[in-house]
Symmetry: C2
């Protein structure tokens, strides 16, 4: 038996999310089916981050155990062949020790949230960005973001259905910068609560519009109450960009 | 009657091209229908460049004459409303003199051609790039591109069905650079022949693979014979990026 670490890019739009679910196609499911087509084995693929419906990945990481005699490059090319009809790509495949676990061995995850900040709606980037027609102040958003850095109870930014044991997380990086007509929000932490980055984005947008101050964001965080946070930003703009081990 | 200059972004994938055609939906047609929905008038919309099926635009320019009392911002927002189900966006609308003609007043057009140069296929950028799994030498491609600059008979890079009066054009800029795993080809000229940029891309790719030298590209140009040029690159990677007046 060999364990392979897979680095995966996908367009989240046609999927119900990373996880296999009853109500539609999960990325996990299409990957597991591709492995079965390749080697005839029924496998469980574990991912580093359970992205929601519509959320994209530039570099999700997962691992899979395969009995068949094969090597990492063959796994990559064969899976890409069986995935050719869905927007999922195996960027990299590496043989790893069976001690490696895509989810539990990860030491940091990084996300990017893209806001298209212009008067007119997206056409080429439809489904890839959150369209906000009001002009946002990226500087003010970045300043407010800094109040969230560090070890906190993040209940204010946690989805009610979140299954994590504790709402306490350490946020390492949260930056906001403008690049042309896009506002880019970047976040890094060992792990995130469910919808945490989308809840950050929805809250920081209120700051960008001038409706909230950085102080109000800090107060909302301190309240540890989801009803005190801003709305959840849509999944379209969110990308899992890196998993560090 | 007022004439409006429209700057338009679109995803070319679902269209048969810019021009209204019998065999499917053209971008021109969806724009003309949006104008009719807005003001009840039947109009002809003239574009600066007739992009082919699958070719995208970051800033196509067109003009339209409207009898109804209105202004440029209303035209922009109303057309975007009627275009909301198709990947076409009016980025800008400006009232111009009736001497302005989107096609004939243009003094320069700019195109970008994107090659995804990596072993594994695109998922997020499917339909937006030409996937070339072989590693390309962008420096060699750029050097070969310089042999095409200037005033030449470009028959070698002209589609056989091209309707231009003359194959002689002046190519102002043709550059090739690598940006991460993408190769970006940028071209500027007063006007281009049909499929000229895609024929440049298809030929320069042969140079990038080491199959052709810059000297062979110069010889192919001098031969003024389409059969001496490289293959036509797919439309997916091509973007009309700017029209100058």
């Amino acid at each position: 038996m060999r364990r392979f670490k897979l680095t995966i890019e996908y367009d989240g739009a046609p999927f119900v999310g990373w996880q296999r679910q009853e109500n539609g196609l999960g990325v996990q499911q299409v990957l597991e089916e591709a492995v079965t087509e390749f080697c005839g084995e029924t496998v469980l693929i574990e991912g580093a981050g359970r992205t929601d419906a519509g959320v994209h990945a530039l570099a999700q990481v997962a691992h899979v155990d395969i009995e068949k005699e094969t090597d990492a490059n063959i796994v990559r090319d064969a899976l890409n062949y069986y995935l050719r009809k869905v927007p999922v790509t195996i960027l990299k495949s590496e043989e790893v020790s069976t001690e490696f676990h895509a989810r539990f061995s990860a030491t940091e995850r990084a996300y990017l949230y893209r806001i298209l900040d212009r008067r007119t709606p997206p056409s080429l980037n439809k489904g890839r960005v959150w369209w906000v027609p009001v002009a946002l102040d990226a500087g003010a958003m970045n300043e407010a973001a800094q109040t969230l850095i560090g070890n906190h109870d993040f209940t204010t930014f946690r989805a009610v259905q979140c299954q994590a044991d504790s709402p306490v997380k350490t946020l390492d990086v949260l930056t906001v910068e403008r690049q042309g007509d896009e506002i880019l929000i970047r976040a890094r932490a060992r792990s995130f609560l469910h919808r945490m980055v989308r809840n950050f984005a929805g809250t920081l947008k209120l700051v960008g519009e001038g409706k909230w101050t950085a102080g109000q964001v800090a107060e909302a965080l301190a309240a540890a109450d989801r009803t005190r946070g801003g709305p959840t930003a849509p999944p379209d703009g969110l990308y899992l960009t890196e998993v560090v081990y």
